[in-house]
Subunit: 298 residues, 2 copies
């Protein structure tokens, strides 16, 4: 495993590897996992998928300042390079790309990649500018690594939808591969931000997965439950937890994130629906979701 | 020369060529000239440069709807495929990429690439949204062709500055190569839009290059002339032509397009300055410019 901090070194290394493979008549398959570090088993599952599908796996670790709002946790976002390196090595990463902020933004970027509509709702509404920062940095990273495949966790469902839209609209030559949410045994979705939680908040945060499981059950079992019933179920369940402060709890189509009529019976819906929640516990904002594939009953 | 209309065919063809070159230990050098067609000798000079520097030359012809304003000339923009093909063949183009609007925009794009600051002035101010359309389509085309080098005419000086900024900010792995303006013998800069001019307007339009030449002379020869004098020179000269309606006539730094203090002596300036004019003759809007390299006399 090699660790590179400079964009030009990443390019040069990949160019050499690609040329070496091509000399033998093969197209080097590169898998890419962009992260902000403080890696957990969710990231490990992305790396495992990348390892399986590709000849070479690139992991990037970069806490991207432009996707944080002014009052968000950029400065205190958790970092642990040693632990990250051990995990990367264990998962068979070939190249770790570890740029500084100056390497990625030698001067403030004048160029932004913006995805409209999909970013108006959910975390996009709660965190103005967040997704502009995400799409811009992901665009940059994809241009640097030029992988055939890039792996993203489905926990950030809206991010998956937005990045997939960007890749499609801009004809980027890469396949975006979403990977399932990895959870603790008690149901809490893995997140680098879980480290912020006090023991009490950690316990309270179980309401996220519990409310999603219950709403999923309602969606699967009830013939009559409407879209509105589903989101009410989420809201009521989360509000039953005194420590929880709801940011949103919504039911939308996926991956368009289009809204559904509240009065529509869930069983009538055809295609994928996203049940998504964002909740604050103390100062820590966590998100979780479930995606259901509905067959329509008309 | 092959003509391709489908994105996937362009990719497949280039992939095969790249692999074939790599088998022999070489990295295929691809030069790309993106155009809106109705090709003239200005385009031909771009193609000649591309031919000289690269193993394979790709020309795209695509009148990009999203860079035209609602009252602009998208519908009537001149088209002549046969002439374009002859010119392309004569200049040794390998691949002509000729997509339909549906191929480039199967649905309205939700993703836009925006460059700020550089697009606030000059044509950006006169044509709101124009450069957003340019950067978005150039980004798409560069992703499809993935050339080492892309060639742009310096007549669209602001476009060169904006595209270069995008490529730098987004870490796109391509070199943007600006090529000098090609002019008719009487000084008129070549433009596909010159075809719109009546004979009288064609004659009146000579005021563009004449005013730029005169301002250039002032910049080179006068020790005392200020930035304001230079732009006044441009304005007065253009206004002396009754058919001409000025859109802008400005002096700015290049490529930052930053303004210069009007009271600054031109000889004091260090670095490149852009003298840029946009003028309407009847319904036809033409642009022209000169870039001077100043050494500063302090």
């Amino acid at each position: 495993m090699i660790v590179l901090t400079d964009i030009e070194d990443v390019r040069a290394h990949l160019r050499a590897e690609r040329l070496a493979a091509a000399r033998e008549g093969k197209e080097l398959q590169v898998g890419f996992v962009p992260t902000m570090g403080f890696l957990h088993d969710g990231h490990a599952s992305l790396l495992r998928n990348a390892r399986m599908d590709n000849d070479l796996v690139v992991l990037s670790i970069f806490v991207n300042p432009i996707q944080f709002g002014p009052n968000e946790d950029f400065e205190r976002y958790p970092r642990d390079r040693d632990k990250d390196m051990s995990l990367a090595k264990r998962e068979g990463v070939d190249i770790v790309f570890l740029p500084t902020v100056e390497e990625m933004y030698p001067e403030p970027t004048k160029t932004k990649v913006l995805v409209s509509e999909l970013t108006d709702h959910l975390c996009g509404a709660a965190r103005p500018g967040h997704f502009d920062g995400v799409t811009t940095v992901v665009n940059k990273l994809l241009n640097i690594v030029a992988p055939q495949r890039a792996y993203f966790g489905q926990k950030d469902a809206q991010q998956v939808a937005v990045v997939t839209q960007m890749v499609m609209d801009l004809n980027m030559d890469v396949e975006i591969i979403p990977c399932p949410i990895v959870r603790e045994e008690d149901g809490l979705a893995l997140s680098s931000r879980n480290v912020y939680l006090t023991p009490d908040e950690r316990q309270a945060a179980l309401v996220l997965s519990r409310s999603l499981r219950q709403a999923e059950q309602l969606a699967r079992e009830s013939e009559e439950a409407t879209v509105e019933d589903l989101s009410q179920e989420l809201v009521q369940m989360i509000e039953s937890e005194p420590e929880a402060k709801i940011d949103y709890a919504e039911v939308r189509r996926f991956p368009s994130l289009a809204s559904l009529p509240g009065s529509m019976r869930v069983k009538e819906v055809e295609g994928k629906i996203l049940l998504a929640v964002a909740v604050k516990f103390g100062t820590t904002r966590l998100i979780d979701n479930v995606i259901l594939t509905m067959e329509g009953d008309k």
